[in-house]
Symmetry: C2
Subunit: 445 residues, 2 copies
């Protein structure tokens, strides 16, 4: 507003890495440069880049950009901001810390780095009073970090739950729509480029756990602690489970779930990623394909849901550039910074993360049982003895000489009790091997 | 971050008005005061209040608050920030301008004031370099203003469309679920307190037009111009239309729609509020009851959708307090302000707003026609002669000696051509009086 003091020279960005996101940044800056200048009052230009393979074919214009031999050279160059788009731990971590040490604002799209080393990075940045932006680290097309950190800052955030891994959601959507098995859907996703050759990070929930860890810290004001996330992948979900869940009124989605509770003077958090039965009419159940959706429940706003693309060069670039704009504003007046995690660093509070065995949830149980009289009575007796209510039950008529399939939705119970029930049920002679247990999540408005 | 220079004294807020939102602000500050202090590094306290009726029963704690006889006294008092929660034009407008003249940051939940006098207010604030926050003016429970202004700042925003009036959405949801008529649903909404005794503002789209005008300026960087919004209310929607639309795969929602186009060197915007047929599987079609949902399409992120409560004391208070937190940060370093409308004031560009007659859309037409041979041929001939494709058509079998009802979804055509078609169709002797025309919106990902 005080235009007289405004810096109108272009903001010079040093880009580390020129993969999908880096190319997106150049493309979006080229396409929307004028619009961005209307917003910021100055242009944003990528002035220096380091890339792994300078000879690779790329979908962006590099004219006027200084190509450096190493990323370290870019960090040391005469640039205003560093954007780290390499990914992985090293050398990304040292480059980010080097930029901070030089007092240069850093933008990163690196969820693994922030989730696993964010505490250290933010401490270094705080000591030097340097801006660090990571909007691109979670659900690139959804400005969810700003929404939780600033938009909902008046709330005590009770919980959040989201579809934050597009690959898993794409696979589950295909399994659900076409009744195909996990392996087939995964192979297709790999062929289409939605899944990596080694899909472990995505389908085993590790990528989602990184993002959930970041969101939870922003929501609850807890330090980052990736190792606290309890994780179950989607590879064990069968088409049969998807079908039974549907008949019971649910869709199966891989959710990242974070809940905060204070009880008996102890702050605890649940941080978990697992396939989850979601009521069919909830927005999360309707978020299909490669989309991301995040539900945030605050004690003042109630339920809010944010939906958009989770990945892709241009969508992630949108988040990187939004951070560049924030960084440019911050450079004009560094005293007014929003804390990295939304809470002042000295205000961050540890909260013990619960293991799966400590949580409470409703459960979906699928059992294969002999088609005999008394089976249902024996099963429901075990559940009743453990004080587990059956909220819904579905038995499909078996074929001649076949076992029957039984699906049960339980009431909200401690997972330890659910485990005891499964032990006892497994001991029944007419319950066959190969049961399945999935968690069920209900959402209030 | 530079903690040494930080102001840790409480932020003193002067509240103008103590209605639903004002009480919500006090309640949420009382409930979440510690959490907010963890975020901001200082407490927020309401120190002065002016209210219309001090004897009214209220659901909040006023202990320690100085009750002023007039709002002007609060503006003049020793407070850091003014929150205008009176609503309406005067005295709200003069109070806001007075606060600005005194260099005090202003937060307002007043969509009518911003939509109709925002240009003048922002010009005054810019001249004095004063913060103005209005997140609460649109969809209180959704931080949509920050999302469009900052979160999506890297995008050229092409269009936005939203359910931004909870009353209309509640009425249409009830009509749709229970087949009841507009008048009955309205009466119920009034009884439940969802609609005012005089419901004109809500059901005729004026409230939505105020909000749309604000969102469009944030999205496109155009000055505010409320009078440019083309508006049609929901009172003409019949249960029959809802039913036919459903059979054709659509839900009828009252949408605020803003589109931006540059063609032949002219920047134009469409700003319109009207009942709209939305494909049944789109998130907007699934947003029911008093919820708000806003779809924003940016050229980098593609489609994003934001869902949450549109009204209510605590949800709107959440937006007011988020602005108070931003105002407190701004007070610490006023040079770094985000422009009021996201774009620098000198970068705002006029764009001509199109009248309904100038837009293009797909249309839903409902005609009552005699049950005679040749009727369909005559109707489809008129449409074909005007180069209007029929995308879908539905004729319900009429009862004995009854007229038939015909529903048609057209291709995307200029509205002027749709009007010509309706004129020509009305001239046909077997087309009865009382046709209906609604606009249809399709959304790309």
């Amino acid at each position: 507003m005080a235009t007289s003091t405004k810096n109108t020279a272009p903001l010079r960005v040093g880009l580390l890495g020129l993969g999908t996101v880096g190319q997106g940044v150049l493309r979006v800056l080229a396409q929307n440069g004028d619009e961005i200048e209307r917003r910021l009052g100055r242009r944003i230009v990528v002035s220096h880049i380091a890339m792994r393979d300078p000879s690779a074919k790329r979908d962006c214009d590099l004219s006027g950009v200084t190509i450096c031999a190493t990323a370290a050279e870019v960090v040391a160059a005469d640039v205003d901001v560093i954007a780290e788009l390499i990914g992985g731990m090293q050398p990304a971590q040292n480059l980010v810390l080097d930029a901070i040490a030089r007092g240069k604002p850093v933008i990163t799209a690196n969820k693994a780095l922030i989730a696993e080393h964010g505490n250290e990075i933010f401490a270094a940045a705080q000591a030097k009073n340097v801006f660090v932006g990571f909007e691109a680290a979670v659900a690139g097309g959804i400005p969810i970090i700003k929404a939780v950190r600033e938009g909902l800052s008046a709330n005590r955030i009770d919980s959040l739950a989201g579809i934050i891994n597009g690959t898993s959601n794409y696979i589950l959507t295909q399994m659900s729509r076409r009744g195909i098995a996990f392996a087939e859907a995964l192979a297709e996703a790999q062929k289409l480029g939605y899944a990596e050759a080694d899909p472990t990070f995505d389908v085993e929930g590790i990528d989602a756990a990184h993002k959930l860890n970041i969101l939870a810290s922003l929501a609850f004001g807890t330090p980052l602690r990736f190792s606290a996330v309890a994780t179950e992948g989607i590879s064990q979900v069968l088409p049969q489970d998807i079908q039974l869940a549907q008949e019971l009124g649910y869709r199966i989605k891989s959710l990242g779930i974070a809940k905060h509770a204070s009880a008996n003077g102890e702050d605890t958090v649940e941080l978990r990623v697992h396939p989850t039965l979601v009521p069919v009419d909830h927005l999360l159940a309707k978020t299909d394909g490669a989309l991301n959706a995040i539900r945030v429940h605050g004690n003042a706003v109630g339920q809010t849901v944010f939906v958009g693309k989770g990945a892709g060069g241009d969508a992630t670039a949108s988040a990187v550039i939004a951070d560049l704009i924030d960084a440019a504003r911050w450079l004009a007046a560094p005293a007014q910074a929003v804390p990295y995690l939304g809470f002042g660093s000295s205000a961050l509070k540890e909260a013990r993360a619960l293991a799966f065995a400590e949580i409470e949830s409703a459960y979906y149980l699928r059992l294969k049982v002999a088609d005999e009289p008394g089976v249902l009575r024996a099963i429901t007796s075990i559940l009743a003895d453990l004080d587990i209510s059956v909220e819904a039950i579905l038995q499909k008529e078996p074929g001649e000489n076949e076992d029957a399939t039984l699906a049960i939705i339980t009431s909200q119970i401690p997972e330890s009790r659910c485990n005891r029930a499964l032990e006892k049920l497994s001991e029944l002679t007419f319950v066959r091997a190969g049961w399945s247990r999935l968690r069920v999540e209900h959402f209030e408005d």
